[in-house]
Symmetry: C2
Subunit: 354 residues, 2 copies
């Protein structure tokens, strides 16, 4: 069908090259997702201005003499309701956070819904009210939308695509170009809660105490960090692919190495137990209310103190440092004193968690 | 599940009130769609600023001291390829046009894709390249995106949600508040092509000559109209629900009446024949490359001349006039001299045409 598609250079396993088709991993935020973007979507869209090729979770654009950030995300989480939230607050917070990670103040959201015929209107009502509440909590307005319906058997209740825009104030400049060896790497709280919360209800698992999603809007925390005077170099929310995928992307895009202390990464006991049971590495499990901050070394304490004073940063800890060695590679010092390379996963270990 | 949902005041047929669930018509752009927005989504989102309640196809927002328009649309057309186009150019042009109808210059697009496991990568490549070409043709950049994958049997190949933003230049002021009795109502060319093109391939129909979609970017035509000095009061692209739904929406939101000459509405012979065969009224069939313009009466000729000079307006004709009588109601003078009310359809006659 296409004369252009050349699978040379893709990470995909060999069988895929003979019968190239979309697999779950192409949406998983790992190496397969990166393949799809780099080898198919980018050449197809024909990015000329270089904005798309930045491959951030949001684009930074000049508008009316200032800068805005724009980000879009489609949410297909399964099931739609899980401990601590549903697809509605996920769709609002996920995009609010992607916009906020550029240092922007998120202002407006657009909502596109694809509904499956037969969805209960009462359920749609609950999801939509959750979105309204989440938007108010984050201080953004839902300003426009579109709703389509597909035949029963061609959807999964509701898919929600949210697009957010926000204003980047003068002087704010975050991104991989600002990451330097010596930077402190900080995570804003315990990891892997969202992925495990979704997985537990999907698989009908019980882990003693119920594990809830960490889904939350992070724009207030970002604003507090910027207002504190902390020299923040880069922010990113570790969603699909978890902290491991996020650190890998930053190491590659900033051409620096990242070294973390595995024991320093905060993992709640119940999450660690669930990960052990499921055979998952918490570093690779998705979060929906956490950020990873790269800050100037002399501001690490200020950043931590600022985060600890905020409701969504009370559990913040420093987990590592940017190094000159091994650019593009993330290395973890393990509990027993060894080191291991923390790779970009091929795909999310848990598909459809967001 | 929801204590809030009250079906009093909905247009939906009685059986739905007992077992309220999503039906195809809720995505059809007619009265059922309006119900969903007015009675469920608006109260749920809790619009406070009044932006969402404008219910236009795009929101007008203040950003950095100027104005921008923002619009989002999800595309679920079935089949994905049809005479003259595919879901890719539809997704680009549909959103470019919604932004342009505010008088804005569309600049940036965000693309969210929900892919179904098993989709051929070669087909995704063709669709994505079509999007890239359509974006270049419209002069917009695809600046950010997101891709999710759902299990086989939970999608339909590819659903695309595009969100566009554009800048509204100072002095440009379009909208229902500017529509006045006496305004000329102009359509930019022959109607009902898109809906019939999609329907013909879906139903395996042959109408002698192949009918192709009219899918096209209209931002250039809008720019030409504004540059011509025409006093344009309002623009809208008659997509789902066709010219009939668009005129009804404008009549209601502007609290004026609209009177059209049915014989003046340009319908190609092949389209009229297909509509007759399928039992469809061309006034209700979707377009993807046409606009309806409301212009000051003394500028009707200037508007027509300007449109005739543009590749996407060569077939422009005046089809009617805004009247003081019957506010909120659209009336057509029929070929035999009678009149009929042109109602808002309950739903699109052809589901999933965009």
């Amino acid at each position: 069908m296409s004369e252009h598609l050349d699978l040379e250079g893709w990470s995909c396993p060999m069988p895929l090259r003979d019968h190239p088709q979309v697999v779950m991993g192409h949406g998983g935020g790992g190496a397969l997702s990166a393949d799809l973007v780099e080898h198919l979507l980018l050449p197809a869209y024909g990015d000329d201005g270089g904005v798309l090729a930045q491959l951030g979770d949001a684009a930074v654009l000049g508008i009316n003499g200032g800068r805005i950030a724009m980000s879009t995300d489609s949410f297909v989480v399964r099931p739609r309701f899980f401990p601590g939230g549903n697809v509605g607050d996920l769709a609002v917070n996920g995009t609010v956070n992607d916009v906020a990670m550029t240092g922007a103040r998120p202002l407006h959201l657009a909502v596109g819904m694809v509904l499956e015929e037969g969805l209960q209107l009462a359920e749609l009502d609950v999801i939509s009210r959750t979105m309204g509440r989440a938007a108010r909590r984050a201080g953004v307005g839902i300003v426009t939308g579109d709703t389509k319906v597909v035949d029963s058997g061609h959807g999964d209740g509701v898919y929600i695509t949210t697009t957010g825009i926000g204003v980047i104030d003068p002087g704010v400049d975050l991104g991989p170009h600002r990451v330097r060896p010596g930077d402190a790497v900080i995570v804003s709280g315990p990891v892997a809660l969202h992925g495990i919360a979704v997985m537990s209800v999907r698989e009908g698992l019980e882990f003693g105490s119920q594990i809830e999603t960490d889904c939350a809007p992070l724009n207030g925390l970002v604003a507090a960090l910027l207002a504190s005077g902390t020299d923040v170099h880069m922010l990113r929310d570790p969603t699909r692919g978890g902290v491991a995928a996020t650190l890998n992307e930053i190491a590659k895009s900033s051409r620096t190495g990242v070294s973390i202390e595995e024991r320093a990464v905060p993992v709640p006991d119940a999450v660690r137990a669930a990960c052990g049971f499921l055979g998952l590495d918490p570093l690779y499990v998705a979060n929906e209310g956490k950020l990873v901050a790269f800050v100037a070394p002399e501001h690490a304490e200020l950043a931590l103190a600022t985060m600890h004073a905020h409701e969504f940063g009370v559990g913040a800890v420093r987990i590592g440092t940017v190094v000159e060695e091994h650019p593009g590679v993330v290395v973890a010092r393990t509990g027993i004193g060894g080191t291991r390379v923390v790779d970009l996963p091929l795909a999310e270990q848990l598909p459809r968690i967001c």
